[in-house]
Amino acid sequence: MEDAVRSGKPVLLQGNEAMVEGALAAGCRFFAGYPITPATEISEAMSVKLPAVGGTFIQMEDEIASLGAVIGASLAGAKAMTATSGPGFSLMQENIGFACVAEVPCVIVNVMRGGPSTGLPTRPSQGDVMQARWGTHGEHPVIVLSVSTTWECFDVTVKAFNLSEKYRTPVIILSDEVVAHTREKVQLPHPQEIEVIDRIKPNMPPEWYIPYEDNARGVPPMGVFGDGYRYHVTGLIHDVRGFPTERPDEIQAFLNRLHRKIYQNYFDIVFIEEEFTEDAELLVISYGSVARSAKRAVREARKRGVKAGMVKLITLWPFPRQFLEPYLRKVRAVLVPEMNFGQVAREVKRINQGMTRVEKLNRIDGQLITPSEILTRLLKM
């Protein structure tokens, strides 16, 4: 276990443990968390593994403080992460908004459980998709990734850190109870094979540094506390020097850049996985643990002569519209199975604009959607 990443041998890992390995491989050296089922294992593993690589693990007094500490650590130059579940994720919302506006890179894992409120602590759900997008107030861009296998827990966590460092933005990973607690064999890559991206630091003389000045990427270089580059951090809307402003031209320019830095890099941020899509007449769009059932169902359907295909969404926000539209134009019908009342299905319907028929398959009873449920539905469509 200790050298799972380095050994190159297959290891048996839980989704939560794979996330820890992914975070460490991506250079995460700070974790602040608070116990909550079903995300606690991430804290537990971090409390053992981070000190061993010279990192810091802190258990905070609640989730508000957890994300607060993560933001502070990131400003001080460390790659930082926190992990939680539904109720804790709700508490974090204000700080997520702060991280968006102050452009602080950080990774937030939400292992989804049944909600609302204390809900179903030990059961899976996908009820936080819209909260991840719109949970914090105000118009803001956000990157949300989802995981469906233990390997993805590793891989997507690395990606999440890279995106957050690249675009100076909080990145949310949505896992769920099933993915988090499923143990699978995975072969983790050699550290040298893993692409790790670090934030761009200012290289001009400190007195020339304008901390929030626009550039082609829309992402200004980020000074670290204490390295001589003066800058002002605030949750207020600020000008290029970081000081609060109420000038309409500056407000507009700032919010435009905040959104532009995400949307102009759309194709770098959006990941999907396709299977049997070339000649598909029926398309299943799924994500998270449901994608595993969908995969099985689509394969079974193919065996029975039904031309089914599937798209697994890894990036949920920004929504993979440009990847899905071509399919919506050509398939006979789309099925969106998910463990909520249809949060992604609604989004698919929104971009569909009458091109094809979109059907939902929902479960909100704390149980996983089984392959046979999806298959039965596919055969009827």
């Binding site: 116990p35 537990e44 409390s47 053992v48 000190p51 007094e61 204390t118």
Partner: protein, 328 residues
């Protein structure tokens, strides 16, 4: 005489002969074998009586008393989020006061009780607790302190004692286990200048019941901090939970006292304190501690005990303790 002392002057106290028969918290719940937390909660409610409304923070006691479709509660009970038991009971109390004042509800001297574990009190719930104490609602807050987040599987809290092993304070080459000292929440509560604060232990059940009852009798907020041995989390045999709780008092690790109207009063003098090692060695969460670390803990316990004696005005005791301190 302060308001609390005035309210308590007729209270005679419980004895083994006049224990109330009622059980607001019924048997048949699903607590672990040897759980001292459920025992403490049961005793406290037995003392307070059935004319009570209870708000429960998320935690072990919420889970084990209410597995669907059953409940162990024979009184009005509400489960709220992790952090806001004190805030919710504030609302219940304020509404009750308004309704009775307007004559829309009969006044029945209802006792309002909120309880939470050490995490729900000392960590995430501290803000709500402090707010409720400051506003002066007439309610009783019970902190059921088992010194870690047991419900999610033994993670450290700020009430976890120094050196203890938990899953997020694992001992090893670079770590001693829990690296900070236990947060003194009763002192924080007392600093709000509320009428009644007490510490209690299920090893002294009559004392615990008396304190719970007194807390319910005083006008305004009252805070009772109960030391609840947890065999599952502390890694000791489930048959010795009470012994462990008693040893915590005998070694001065968890002294029993009351603060009435700001007056500190020791509940049990301890002329012959035992060395803390005897308390620590009962539990496997402390088994990695070296003698040097234990000496450090002993020193801290001595210091806190002396502070407490001074606060309680027990100057004679303080002098005597100064003589035997070196032998511990």
């Amino acid at each position: 005489m302060g308001a609390a002392a005035e309210a308590l002057k007729d209270f005679k106290g419980f004895s083994m002969k006049n224990l109330p028969r009622e059980e607001p918290l019924s048997p048949g719940h699903r607590a672990c074998q040897g759980c001292a937390e459920i025992l403490s909660l049961r005793l406290a409610l037995k003392a307070i009586g059935k004319n009570v409304i209870v708000a429960s923070a998320t935690g072990c006691m919420e889970i084990v008393t209410t597995p669907y479709p059953q409940t162990a509660w024979r009184v009005p009970w509400i489960h709220v989020a992790f952090e806001n038991a004190a805030a919710v009971i504030s609302g219940v109390e304020a509404a009750y006061k308004a309704m009775t004042r307007k004559g829309k509800m009969e006044k029945k001297d209802v006792v309002f009780v909120a309880y939470g574990g050490d995490g729900g009190t000392a960590d995430i719930g501290l803000q709500a607790l402090s707010g409720a104490l400051e506003r002066g609602h007439n309610f009783v807050y019970l902190c059921l302190d088992n010194e870690a987040y047991m419900n999610t599987g033994i993670q450290r809290s700020s009430a976890t004692p120094y050196g203890a092993m938990t899953t997020t304070s694992p001992p090893g080459k670079k770590s001693i286990g829990q690296a900070t000292w236990k947060k003194n929440v009763p002192a924080i509560a007392a600093a709000h200048d509320i009428p009644y604060v007490a510490t209690a232990s299920p090893a002294y059940p009559i004392d615990l019941m008396n304190k719970a009852k007194k807390a319910s009798l005083v006008p305004g907020p009252a805070y009772v901090h109960i030391f609840c041995a947890c065999p599952t989390g502390w890694r000791h045999d489930s048959s010795i939970a009470i012994e462990v709780a008693r040893m915590a008092v005998a070694t001065n690790v968890f002294p029993l006292y009351e603060v009435i109207d700001g007056q500190w009063k020791l509940s049990r003098k301890n002329p012959k304190p035992k060395p803390v090692k005897e308390y620590l060695k009962l539990q496997r969460r402390f088994r990695h501690l070296t003698d040097a670390e234990i000496a450090k803990i002993q020193q801290r316990v001595n210091k806190e005990w002396k502070t407490l004696l001074a606060r309680c005005g027990e100057l004679e005791e303080l002098e005597k303790f100064g003589e035997i301190e070196q032998n511990l």
